[in-house]
């Protein structure tokens, strides 16, 4: 068994930012474990632009954004291992990984940052009946095949789900010569960005069908078509609206799930809403010294916020390594009235942050609302929003004065006030 102060699981945007920030806080004994053969994580296959407006004030592609952080990590000579998969993490922070050159290695860490991202919800999880031939892909798998391997999954495509990956893939497949016949969305609204609806669908006259879903898949060896139907207000398909669309490929963009099997083994408590850990304002989970950030904590839509959150996690991990955990009162942050969740979930009363960032998602589309934070019923913070949607994470920053108010409270509530659905 070897010893390390800080082990970071995952070399994608979250892990890289955490490593950079931990180094800049003085930590030198860092190890990044990455299962793929290069650093950068999922950004490597996101070759479209639109990354980094907040962080770098310019629009980068995924690989370019990753390269900025990879450079930072390399400049600092932070140790990383590629093609190395973590197979276990214990609650006393022994991280077990394997690769072809080192074999099986156990690392006793003082702190662990889990930055291992999320996975896509597969067909089975959404219960689409029908045949089980080739041609059904999650959008991310198709993205990898097209952008990394250079293979086209199919020529006539239907996409289920209008999340950003689905929209991006509609354009991508069109660019590579496929015909995207429709994007089908169960909900009456899209969870993707408007910009992507305009530039990935409307630009190419790809129809976006709201309140529809795929109810059957036809074709023995390979998909030959799908049957779609409109759904009622309880999201149940209405058989009389069924229509057949001929296609050879069905892409699924039906949600992302934090990948938390390792965390579970380490007894990390997970939120039933996000699927990620419940963390305090230092990004620490219920297990002392285990931190989470990025998509393994909750699924983000902008990588800039992943970086920001992860830099905080890296810095807090170093503070923990040097000073140990704070033994103090915690206030749980309650989310009501349209707010589904907030990260962090808890506030440490002893922390002394100059500012604190709260990230949250709403459960539906609301217009003309105010996002408020109250401490024992007293409004501490309010932010008026013309529109909030489940697809766009809300991000608010509180100053030290406001934080002081919250820390004294017995109950912190975040809610949407006013407005209409």
């Amino acid at each position: 068994m070897i010893a390390k102060n800080l082990v970071i699981v995952g070399g994608g945007p979250a892990g890289l930012a955490a490593a950079k920030s931990a180094y800049d806080c003085g930590e030198r004994d860092i190890l990044i474990l990455e299962r793929e053969s290069e650093l950068g994580g999922i950004l490597n296959q996101c070759i479209h632009n639109g990354f980094g407006l907040h962080t770098f004030k310019e629009e980068l592609t995924g690989p370019e954004y990753a390269a900025r952080y990879i450079d930072e990590v390399k400049k600092r000579n932070i140790e990383y291992k590629l093609s190395s998969t973590v197979i276990d993490i214990s609650s006393d922070k022994v991280v077990t990984y394997v690769n072809s050159t080192d074999g099986l290695v156990q690392v006793k860490a003082k702190a662990v940052v889990l930055a291992c991202g999320c996975r896509e919800r597969p067909r089975g999880a959404i219960n689409i009946a029908g045949m089980r031939g080739a041609g059904v892909f999650s959008a991310g798998t198709a993205q990898k095949l097209v952008n990394i391997e250079g293979y086209l999954p199919g020529k006539e495509v239907v996409i289920l789900g209008s999340g950003d990956i689905g929209l991006i893939m509609a354009r991508r497949m069109t660019f590579e010569g496929a015909k995207v016949k429709a994007v089908v969305e169960l909900m009456p609204y899209s969870s993707g960005l408007n910009r992507n609806i305009v530039q990935c669908l409307n630009d190419f006259d790809i129809p976006l069908m709201f309140s529809h879903t795929v109810i059957d898949i036809k074709g023995k060896d390979r998909v030959e078509g799908v049957v779609i139907a409109e759904v009622d207000d309880k999201l149940r398909p209405m058989p009389e609206t069924a229509q057949f669309i001929k296609c050879d490929t069905l892409l699924l963009s039906v949600g992302l799930l934090p990948e938390n099997e390792l965390a579970k083994n380490a007894s990390v408590a997970l939120s039933p809403v996000t699927g990620g850990a419940e963390v305090d304002d230092t990004m620490m989970t219920n297990v002392e010294g285990i931190f989470q950030c990025g998509n393994v904590l909750h699924v983000h839509d902008l990588v800039d916020f992943v970086s920001q959150e992860s830099e905080n996690a890296g810095a807090c991990a170093v503070k923990y390594i040097n000073e140990g955990a704070e033994k103090c009162e915690q206030v749980t942050i309650k989310c009501t009235k349209g707010v589904r969740y907030c990260v962090p979930h808890k506030l440490n009363c002893d922390d002394n942050f100059q500012s604190l960032n709260f990230k949250m998602r709403v459960g539906n589309v609301y217009k003309k609302v105010e996002l408020t934070v109250t401490a024992d019923g007293v409004k501490v913070y309010g932010k008026k929003r013309p529109v909030v949607t489940p697809g766009e994470m809300e991000n608010i920053t509180l100053n030290s004065q406001q934080i002081e108010q919250l820390k004294k409270a017995k109950e912190i509530v975040i809610s949407l006030e006013g407005g209409q659905q």
């Binding site: 093609s83 072809s100 099986l104 031939g133 095949l145 990394i148 086209l152 060896d221």
Partner: protein, 475 residues
Amino acid sequence: MKDVIIIGSGVIGSGIARELSRYSADIVVLEKGDDVSVGTSKANSGIVHAGFDAVPGSNKAKYNVAGNKMFDELSKTLDFPFRRNGSMVLCFDSADIGALQQLYDKGVANGVEKLSVITGEEARKIEPHLSDKVVACLLAETGGIVSPYELNIAYAENAAVNGVKFEFCKKVTNVSKKDGTFEVTCADGSVYHGRTVINCAGVHADEINNMVCPEKMHIVARKGDYILMDKTAGYLADHTLFQLPTKMGKGVLVTPTTHGNILIGPTAVDVEDKDNVSTSLEQLNIVFDKASLTVPELSRRTIITQFSGLRAHEDCDDFIIGESSVEGFYNVAGIESPGLSASPAIATEIAGQVATKLQLKLNSHFTETRKGIPHFATMSNTERQKLIDSNPLYGKIVCRCEMVTEGEIVSAIRRPVGAKDLDGIKRRTRAGMGRCQAGFCTARVMQILARELGEDMADVTKCGGESFIVEGRTK
């Protein structure tokens, strides 16, 4: 001239091939798919039934009880997953306890050991997640679970090692007998001559029989939908939990799999098209709702996939096993439940009959044991280290969900009767069988298959035929 032509490489065809490979004989197995275990044998409940269900005196009863007893040793010899987890038949209405008792009596008549009727309370002590509504149950301690395709593959590999030839993409279109010799013609034009033919064609066994036998057969494909749940739901059941058939219907089972998932199903719908393995939303909902009666805690959130399988139901409602009226033509047909449980006994019986007929001599080079692919996920860390030392490819995890290494995938391809497509890799290694359902490993497994088989990635299929994964290069 072949001594034996076996049609079909499901668990029956492969099992017979393996048992016959104990003898010196020229044996070929003709399979219409591109791999073994691609029909009924791959998509079923994976249950080794105790044997209380079949009508006393029937072939089903006889071979089930005999087959069940063979699994402990066979699973060690051929290295496939099997566990004697015991099964329970649940009774939800005290009015039905009589039927439960009848089942017990039938079991005793069939020679099933270790049967008992226990109360609902006692049942819940053994299975704490069982419904409160269970009033009594028949406990059969000899019931077990097996990985059906791994049993099938183990049989085939061992048969191949002992000289049996497996020929794929050989759809038999005609069987005839001239001058004491059988002529078997395939769709691709190839012709095989043999002294004997063993018909193990599953749902298509009637078609094969009817080509050559005057006594006609009729098999209906009875489709059953299943739902597979994540391993995180695995704690919900340890025994195989059947529902006592009532006038309300047959019920569905809830069972752990040998790999720790929970499997629920099947329904039963007779279908015209014997290749139709599509699931239907309606049937899947029935499966889930009925299974929830047994284990109310089942959650749709833990579902990872659905599939359906076809059972070969012959009109006579029993296994048809043995030489037909055409000398040298053997039928092993109508092998529906408990066919999997019966398969070792059937294989031994038919191999014995054919060997006697052909007066075969024992094969002095017969290798009885087969070692499966190393299973990295279930090893100790010391074993893992040793494995990686022996071959660094075992240090490369390809499938995260099931922790499958590149070494295992390469082994699956290079073995006798090796994998040629994604589904073949999945059945042999579990890569792609986990909760992400191959989202992450598809591209990687395609690369490995292409490299090992000397193909382009565009040639890689999901399950042979036209099931190509990708269209071609983008540029």
